[in-house]
Symmetry: C2
Subunit: 192 residues, 2 copies
DNA sequence: CAAGCTAGTAATCAACTGATAACATGTCAA
DNA sequence: TTGACATGTTATCAGTTGATTACTAGCTTG
């Protein structure tokens, strides 16, 4: 297999592994096993574990921005209209099909105090998403904040596997249903 | 020093340490050094690292619920009134004085896939807070969701040290100011 | 004083981690 | 054919980690 192909394969495996364990909780060996290659190969391919995580995180960040951009391209932009924001929220739902993406983001947001480079990257990511929303929709800071806050709640509920355990806890189920919307909830339950 | 006193001391140290590094990223030795005791003593006092984290997390969870409960006791409950929710949000601000509390919560929310017991506890915590809000204010699921979502955004921004770096990135600064409110922002900047 | 309990520490361990170095294999151009 | 480069692996290492065991000093009670 060619190096770039293998690289993509390892990055995909790393995304799954980091999504599960976070930065500190995932060994390079775990990534290697997930990718079906040897551990030293993973390390040499990316230099350090931190570099590998940063690349995985950068791709997740880019994927989210791409999704928002393409969705805003499609929609009639009207920041005053709740329908518009619902549609944009549904676009975030597309991403939920790839759970790992959001979990990697989530872990990146919390890994900053342990690995300052990751922290800086996480802040840049958040800043870019906020700027994207503001610039392309012309909305108020409050509206953008509310939208992002909703996203953070979804990330958190996903991270704690709330949808999968919704039936065990009525209150948690109600919150999950309310946050994800009923159809997305069914998807995430099936996935978990 | 008596055992219960020492225990409190170690728990406080563990709270600081875990807030910094998260569950996986913090060693029992790091906690021990922070507390000024030996590493084996920390382990024997709590059995395992996971047990220690769970106790730290349980206290953080309880503190947040206590804050909400006592604030709701003080306020005139009116779930339709935005003033009421602003006041409750400000109560969350009291907690920001103890940054570690929120960071421990945040890390607990993401540690579930690595340590299932912690995951279950995190879900219970979220469920209790949601139930508390719903039961004591009589608000709609949507209103409770929005309030919690706002809290998750604050946690995330704190975790990525957004307030401390607000001046380096105008967009991030604007988001932070909007999320925390300007006076709380100043506090968190001073703390960081 | 001696026996026992409490509050600790020092020494040690096996497992794991990220990283390095050395080696193997295949392919392709001169 | 041979040499160089690309794509990997095996072997190895020093440091860290959570946990166990055995020990010690101080207090208290009979």
């Amino acid at each position: 297999m060619s190096a770039p192909e293998r690289r993509e394969l390892v990055l995909a495996a790393a995304s799954r592994a980091f999504a599960r364990g976070g930065y500190a909780g995932t060994s390079t060996d775990a990534v290697a096993r997930e990718a079906g290659v040897s551990q030293p190969y993973v390390v040499r391919m990316f230099g350090t574990k931190a570099e590998l995580f940063r690349e995985v995180f950068a791709r997740a960040s880019q994927a989210i921005q791409d999704t928002f951009n393409s969705e805003i391209d499609k929609l009639v932009v009207d920041a005053e209209n709740e329908e518009f924001w619902n549609a944009l929220g549904m676009a975030y739902g597309e991403l939920i099909a790839d759970r790992d993406l959001l979990l990697v983001m989530m872990h990146g947001f919390t890994a900053g105090s342990i690995e300052p480079d990751i922290g800086a990257q996480a802040r840049t990511c958040m800043s870019q998403i906020y700027s994207l929303l503001r610039d392309r929709t012309g909305c108020t800071p409050e509206r953008a904040r509310e939208f992002i806050a909703q996203g953070m709640l979804l990330n958190t509920l996903l991270a704690m596997q709330a949808p999968e355990h919704a039936d065990e806890d009525p209150a948690l189920g109600e919150l999950s249903a309310c946050a994800f919307g009923s159809q997305l909830l069914a998807e995430t339950q099936a996935a978990g």
